[in-house]
């Protein structure tokens, strides 16, 4: 009897705590969704609230009707995410597979070269000088795709250990005896067996590309037509700070048009998270698996 009572108390308290945490986690997101659907004058008068006096879909109509810029940035985000994820997944998988082949001469040195990039890196300044003065990627699409995001050592090693543990050598040998070329073995035999980790890494890459704002911020100084939605959001915040910091209001060079109204800004922020919220239920399990795999090494 006492036992059951204790169990019930535990369950009740546990539920209360978890409910508080869960709400704390999503309430800010709910607040901006509601704000984006609030009438702009109401927003300015009463501030952001959960129960606005007047609702309005004006912000979204505005974005989709007059916001060519916005849709263009949105398209850029999707484009960069799709292309980046595909290239990234391809080179990560191929490298990981190569490193997982036990007989490969030079395998240890190669693994070390990958691993070392996790221990030591030059940091922002040398990287910036390299990309801007050697490769001239400033203000090009490459700037969004290449720096930092294309491949990271952690994903390679995570995938490599998956290949080592879940693709038995015997199967690869059998394929090779049957006359399959190395590439065919990789494509037809190893890859299907590694499908879970491939999905997880694709997910990590896709989210990294979608959320990235730094490449655009650092390298796209003039080419605002290449901006992603994150860059656009970033620029709007900066413009607001710029205006609030400078006494003179005669600034023609504020950049992307004038600053949109509060509700429109919130609508843009919502559009920025929307794809993630939409696919979240589908990817969640895979994502959790990925975290668990990388877990202790994280």
């Amino acid at each position: 009897m006492i036992k059951n009572k204790e169990e019930r108390t535990f369950q009740a308290i546990g539920n209360v705590f978890m409910m508080i945490f869960a709400l704390l986690a999503i309430i800010p997101i709910i607040l901006i969704i509601i704000s984006s659907l609030t009438d702009n004058d109401t927003l300015i008068k009463y501030g952001y609230t959960f129960f606005p006096q007047k609702w309005s879909t004006y912000a979204y109509t505005y974005v989709f009707q007059s916001g060519n810029n916005v849709l263009h940035c949105y398209f850029n985000s999707f484009f960069v995410t799709a292309v980046g994820t595909v290239i990234s997944l391809t080179i990560t998988t191929m490298l990981a597979y190569a490193l997982s082949r036990k007989g490969l001469p030079g395998r240890n040195v190669m693994t070390f070269l990958v691993f070392f990039t996790m221990l030591f890196n030059g940091g922002l300044v040398p990287t910036y000088i390299n990309y801007t003065s050697v490769f001239n990627i400033k203000n090009t699409y490459w700037a969004l795709l290449i720096p930092r995001l294309l491949m990271n050592a952690f994903n390679v090693l995570l995938m490599k250990s998956y290949f080592v543990t879940s693709v038995p050598d015997e199967i690869l040998e059998a394929a090779s005896i049957d006359g399959a070329s190395e590439f065919k073995t990789f494509y037809k035999v190893a890859l299907p067996l590694a499908q879970p980790i491939v999905a997880t890494i694709a997910l990590f890459n896709g989210i990294a590309y979608w959320n990235d704002w730094m490449n655009g911020y650092v390298y796209l100084t003039d080419a605002t037509d290449l901006y992603t939605i994150q860059n656009l959001l970033n620029r709007m915040i900066q413009n607001i700070q710029y205006l609030s910091n400078s006494a003179s209001l005669s600034n023609a060079s504020v950049g992307l048009a004038s600053i949109p109204s509060v509700s429109v800004r919130m609508a843009l922020a919502v559009l920025g998270i929307l794809p993630i919220i939409v696919i979240y239920p589908l990817i969640q399990n895979n994502f959790v698996k990925g975290i668990t795999l990388g877990g202790v090494k994280g």
């Binding site: 800010p28 300015i44 952001y48 930092r148 995570l158 190395e182 090494k297």
Partner: protein, 339 residues
């Protein structure tokens, strides 16, 4: 309980060994045998397609990670973009002397103290959440877990919008609704330093507790259930089971994760410290970390040499700390070490 576990974590939690030094020093097979170069050439030919597969990845690592390394010398130069890295005149240690005479202390202190606070707060909260989730039988469990993980997927730019919705002095939720409700005057959040350590610790926990609690939860679910069954038969209460079984068994995971985090203590989340305070100048004393300092020096102030000196300092100390942390992990549990 058992079924639920399978559902959530179909892949068992196993140790990843990204790299093992033993493989280098004691190779299992001898590649260059006496039998001559012909054989190794044949072997090379056989493996040629594999090398080709590895090539794009290495090309990228070369461009993104190795090519910039010589650029670290900029820290010892008076850099001018016109003259390039090698054409710029040497400055000896002048950049470092200046750095350590000015901002080095502040940015190092901020970086380290914030990281220490993050490690403590996040570890406690994550374990708390993981323990509750592991014992809970509620149908809402999935909702809880999904919700607390979601912030991890939100970009820092958008996080700054979320924070702004609460803290904006004109129409923020806190000033306009909460403080007004209590008849208090609004606070000018973005220019008052004293609140920011708490705000940043809170935002960081908001963003990452979901993630780390998953790691702890997976660890707890991997524990042998027979301990709990035996304890239940002996009449141990739930709290006793948590105190005497779960927490002690989590100890090694906590130590490992903490040491790994200590290894990264010289690095900070640039987005958190740059975007969330909205790059507000008034807040710099409590928001400037090594990463934001390097960024501002390079792209806002045009003081590249100084920025390079701070970056060099971060790379070197960071490297030593990672090695040290790993050494400590190795002492405790060889299998958990990175190398």
């Amino acid at each position: 309980m058992g079924d639920w576990k399978e559902d959530f974590f179909p892949i068992p939690h196993f140790h990843i060994r990204p790299y093992d030094l033993r493989e280098i020093f004691m190779p299992t097979e001898n590649i260059a045998t006496r039998q001559g170069k012909k054989k190794s050439f044949q072997k090379f030919k056989k493996y040629l397609p594999i090398y080709l597969m590895a090539f794009p990845g290495f090309l990228y690592l070369f461009i993104n990670n190795y090519m910039p390394l010589p650029g670290l010398v900029v820290a010892f130069k008076t850099y001018s973009a016109r003259l390039g890295i090698w054409g710029s005149p040497w400055a000896g240690l002048a950049n470092f002397k200046y750095l350590f005479a000015s901002d080095a202390w502040l940015i190092t202190r901020n970086t380290i103290l914030y990281n220490v606070a993050f490690i403590i707060v996040n570890t406690i909260l994550s374990i708390f959440v993981a323990i509750i989730l592991s014992e809970l039988t509620s149908p809402l469990k999935k909702f809880y877990q999904s919700s607390i993980l979601l912030p991890f997927l939100v970009s820092s730019v958008i996080v700054s919008y979320l924070v702004f919705a609460f803290l904006s002095s004109d129409n923020g939720f806190i000033n306009n609704t909460i403080l007004k409700h209590f008849g208090m005057k609004g606070i000018s959040w973005y220019s008052t330093t004293k609140y920011w350590p708490f705000i940043l610790i809170f935002v960081n926990a908001w963003k990452s507790v979901g993630y780390s609690s998953i790691i702890y939860l997976a660890t707890i679910l991997g524990f042998d259930r027979s301990y709990y069954e035996a304890a239940t038969i002996d009449g141990a209460s739930k709290m006793q089971q948590i105190t005497w079984i779960t927490l002690p068994m989590l100890k090694s995971t906590v130590i490992m994760l903490t040491l790994m985090a200590v290894g990264r203590i010289f690095y900070s989340d640039f987005g958190l410290f740059y975007q969330v305070p909205q790059n507000s100048g008034a807040l710099l004393p409590v928001t400037n970390t090594i990463d934001t300092y390097v960024y501002r020096g390079l792209l806002e102030l045009g003081n590249i040499s100084m920025s390079a000196a701070a970056g060099f300092y971060q790379s070197i100390v960071g490297f030593v700390l990672v090695l040290g942390a790993n050494l400590a992990v190795r002492k405790i549990d060889k299998d958990s070490a990175l190398f």
